[in-house]
Amino acid sequence: MRKWISLLFATVLTATVAVACASSNDTAAGGGGGTSTLDTVLSRGSLICGVNGQLPGFSFVNNEGEYSGMDADYCRAIAAALFDDPSKVEFRNLSAQERFTALAAGEIDVLIRNTTWTINRDTALGLEFGPTTFFDGQGMLVAKASGVTAISGLGGKSICVQSGTTTEQNLTDKFRKLNIPFTPVVFDDEDALYSAFAQGRCQAATSDRSQLTARRQSLPNPDNYLVLEEVISKEPLGPAVRNNDSKWADAVKWIVYSTFQAEELGIEQDNLTQFASSTDPEVKRLLGQEGTLGTDMGLPNDFAARVIKHVGNYGEIYQRNIGEPFALERGLNSLWTDGGLIYAPPFR
């Protein structure tokens, strides 16, 4: 019998060693370069884009049953740049709680879900952020009838907030600083949050001000509610990808920048054909008629032209999704030349 047992041990040991050897080989292969998400997306022929799906203005399903909004348009911009076809996007709705896990697990290629860029997310969470596409700030939505006109009037009240967001933490920080008590009511789902708020479960709902403005319009009686003037945080929203994949991060980054640059140069969806014959070297470089800016990073050389053709420049994206439907002024989201923060590094 002892012989059998020793045989068993020997086998297990051999198997373990074999696995250990195999895994160290894997590490050498996988840990080094590996394949970039860019190659994966190109070979798949479509982009999997993680979005909110419940937020008017950023990403939601409109009356025609199509995803619309600024975030959705940036997903389309990436698809347009890679495939010359903005419909080559698979949208995945993600809750605030799910989003980072979905990205880390490779379920999605890029996360464009009104996600705030913070140092913690950029480093500890293993993400890489692209350029900010919307500079936002956190605000408070209250019922006019409550008579609350400032955050200091919310002492002891219940405040609806979404879990897993920066707003949840900012809210706590702000009220701690003001030293007033409050009760957070933390929802996982945005629709559930605003329906509970409309039913009076909370005296205030807090989120990014753009979101509150958009959501206010879909409440039963929008005129009964107002967004407080106070802004309690900085919320730079933009796309995010996985860490340690700079090829893909660069591609996303420069596709976004190309929309900024196009607006700066005045290139729009409608006048793109006129600019195609331009002699301005800056325009020619952006549109891929001169130099190899696109091919240098593994994209088609005319990626920016494709983005403008299918989706438009930053100003057009903004007006279409946020400016017109919600009458929200550009403010910080103006071009740097107009005193805003939208600024692309040189295309050269």
Partner: protein
Amino acid sequence: MDEQKIPLWRDDRFIKLAVQVLLVVAVVVVIAILANNVSVNFRRLGLNFGFSFLNNPASFGIGDTAIPYSPTDAFGKALLVGLINTLRVIVVGIILATLLGIVVGVARLSENWLVRQIATVYVEIFRNTPLLLQLFLIYTAGFLQLPPIEQALQLPGSTILSNQGLYLIWPIGSLRTGLSLAVLIGGATLGIVLWQRRLRVMELEGASGNGYQKALIGIGIVSLLALLLGLEWRTPQFENGTVTGGLHLSAEFGALLFGLVLYTAAFIAEAVRAGIQSVSQGQWEASRALGLHSSLAMRLVVFPQALRVMIPPLTSEFLNLAKNSSLAAGIAYSDFFQIAFTINNQTGRVLEVVLLIMITYLTINLLISLGMNWFNQRVQLKER
């Protein structure tokens, strides 16, 4: 006698062992591949494994807190708050679901047509619709329809009811309250012991048990005094739209509790019905022949026997209730699951947090199983 040796591949002992060895190897290989996968991916993302992040400040608020908690406390403390919230729902939920389940289960077999039909409709509706849907309905169409806090209902006993929840009169946590509570618990324990001893003395020795009776009355008076005067009752104060003091049971807690109890009770009712029906008809007839009324026959003869059959399915319903409590996040109740995922979201410690969640729910459920198995052994027939 030169017996020919059996070849190795036909040796029964060898085959049995080889199968086992192969199985062990397969398990080891699978685990090793998984572990390797995790470590490679951790390295690729530049993350490392550890639980020290639980000491960092949480910096998020929690609505329902049974123990004092502030956002400056550590993540570990936040998890503890969540665990207590989960246990609150599970313990109260199991008790209420069992009571309701037994009532409905018995009603399913009632001789009254209307009672039987009502019980059947209840069971079929709650057993055959998704729990999450029921929770949403109970929360938004039930609890949120209560008047807002500004027009809260003021009920007798200083109770305040609004769509923020129920505010009850409750003792504050002071030394005096603690001492009185100790007196109450001690009194109750002593009372039960004395009561049983009194019954035994009366039955076995035919004594009057007067001494025991006096002692019991004395304990009752002391306990009543401790309850009324010892505990420092604090009534909830309602003042321009906010309530301070007292015990706050939030609308979310109420909705989750209601949902879990109604859902689980429907399953328990079926287990109860099956248990009762498994008791042979002869038991009913025998009890009637002894002159027992049908409710007495149920209580004294049939139900104790049915209990033996009911306990194993009942255990799984309790376990289901415990696991279903994690749907709390859907209706904004801060249970362990929700808080753990908030922490995951803030720290990016997916693996650690998921491990913690698994260990916690595993422990809760193993404890429930352990308790129920002990109870099961107690009520089973003793083979003599």
